[in-house]
Assembly symmetry: C2
Homo-oligomer: 244 residues x 2
C-alpha cells in the first residue's frame, strides 16, 4: 500500500469548495472521480484543509493510499487527462504510510489579492476583490503587525462555524503594493474558518480609514466577531503552500 | 442624438460570442440589457466584429446612438455597475454621427496565446491553447511571412461560413516566445470567419514539424481549406485593438 502526496492547483470559481457535497461540484469530488476513472478503483483523498466555495489554490496538498501499481511519475498526467482544465495535479510523491495531509501540516501560506482600482478589469475580477476607495497600504501594514504571534483569533472566526480552540499562531503577514494590486501574504500554523478573509476585510476597513490601525489590537483582544470588518470575498483568496 | 463609441473588454469563456442569439447569453445581449437598465430605454449596439463563442477581447469597439442625456464620462461606470464582472466598458467617447464601428474599421489586431507545455496550468488554460509537443518558434515565424500582404485567404476560411470576397490584407504577423507561451500577433484590414484560428492551427502544424514552413505558401495558393491545419480553440484568441 503506497501513500501518495499530491500537490494541486485549482481555479475555485466554478466549484463549491474542496469538500465532497451531495449537491454541487467540488474539487475533492472531481479528483476522486478522476482517480476512480484512471485507477479503476474508488479512493478517498484527504486534503490539508477544506478551501471554501470560490477559493483558489496554487499549492493545496492531499494524500491517498492505493495498492494500484501506477508508476509515480505518470500519476499527475494520467489524472490530469480526465480532470477539468481548471484543476491540475502539479506533483505526486510517495510519502511514508503515516503521512496525513491535514494533521501533519506545520505551516499554511494564504495569499489575498485586492485590486485597488476604480476601473473594472474584465480579466482580473475573477481572482481579486476590487476595492474602489483608495487604500493606504502603510496603515494596513502597521495594523497587520498586531496579529503576528500566538493569539486567540475568535474575533476573526465565522460566527456559524466556531471551533472549540481558536488559538492560532501567525508567523508572518506582509502587505505589498504591486501595480494596481495589494497583495496580502499570511503564514501561520493553521487558520479558523473564514479567518483570512475576515482579517483582510478588517485590513480594508483600516486602509480606507474607517478603523484606525490601533483598532486591530482592540479587535483581537475583544474576541468578538462583531468588532472586526466584513468577510472579504472568496475569489481573492489563494492557498499558496502547505509545509510539513 | 449623440453617437457613442465604446471600448470593451470581456472574458468570453461563459458567452456564446458577441452577437445576440435567441438561445444563449452573448456579450451584445448583456451590454444592451445593461444600457436598457441604466438608460431606461432600449438601444441597439453595433460592434467592429462579431467575436465567436469563447473568444476574448481587450479592445472590442462598438457604437450606439442615444438621445438620453447621460454625462459622457459617467457612461462606463454606470453601465459597468449592472454588467457581469467579466465584461467591462473601458471607455466611452462621443464620435461623429456617421461613425460606424464595423464599416469604418481600418485595422484589427488579434492576439493568440499558445501555452507550449507538457504541464497543465489550472489558471492559464482558460486563456490559452495548451500544446504539449515542442514547437519550433523559428519555423513558425518563417512560415508566417508568407501570409503578409494582400491575398485570397480562402484556405483559412471556415467551410460553412464562406464570404463572397475572401481577399484580405495582413499588415503584420509576429510570433514570440514569452516564457512557456508562444504569442502570435496578427494585424490586418479584416479577417474571414475563423481565419486567425485557422492560421494558428496551421502554424502549430509547422512548429511541430508536421508541415514544412514552405508549405504555408502552397496552402495559401491552393485556396482549399482542407490543405490548412485544424482550427485552433477559441479560448486562446483575443481581439486586442481596432483602429479607425
Amino acid at each position: 500500500m503506497r501513500n501518495i502526496k499530491l500537490t494541486i492547483a485549482y481555479d475555485g470559481t466554478n466549484y463549491k469548495g474542496w469538500q465532497l457535497q451531495k449537491n454541487g461540484t467540488t474539487i475533492q469530488g472531481k479528483i476522486e472521480e478522476a482517480i476512480e476513472k484512471t485507477f479503476k478503483k474508488k479512493h478517498r483523498i484527504y486534503s490539508a484543509g477544506r478551501t471554501d466555495s470560490g477559493v483558489h489554490a496554487q499549492g493545496q496538498i492531499a494524500h491517498f493510499k492505493t495498492s494500484v501499481p501506477v508508476p509515480m511519475n505518470k500519476i499527475p498526467s494520467i489524472i490530469n487527462t480526465v480532470l477539468p482544465p481548471d484543476i491540475a495535479i502539479k506533483n505526486a510523491k510517495k510519502v511514508s504510510t503515516d503521512f496525513h495531509a491535514q494533521f501533519d501540516a506545520k505551516q499554511k501560506h494564504y495569499r489575498y489579492y485586492i485590486l485597488n482600482s476604480l476601473k473594472r478589469e474584465a480579466f482580473k475580477e475573477r481572482y481579486a476583490w476590487r476595492v474602489s476607495y483608495n487604500l493606504n497600504v502603510s496603515l494596513m501594514r502597521e495594523a497587520a503587525k498586531a496579529l503576528i504571534g500566538k493569539h486567540d483569533f475568535k474575533s476573526f472566526q465565522a460566527v456559524d462555524k466556531r471551533e472549540r480552540l481558536s488559538v492560532r499562531n501567525i508567523f508572518s503577514i506582509t502587505v505589498k503594493k504591486q501595480k494596481a494590486f495589494i497583495v496580502i501574504d499570511i503564514k501561520g500554523d493553521g487558520f479558523l474558518y473564514n479567518m483570512v478573509r475576515n482579517i483582510v476585510g478588517t485590513l480594508v476597513e483600516i486602509g480606507r480609514g474607517y478603523f484606525s490601525p490601533e483598532s486591530m489590537m482592540e479587535i483581537l483582544k475583544s474576541k468578538n466577531r462583531k468588532k472586526a470588518g466584513p468577510t472579504a470575498p472568496a475569489k481573492g483568496l489563494f492557498l499558496m503552500e502547505v509545509k510539513y
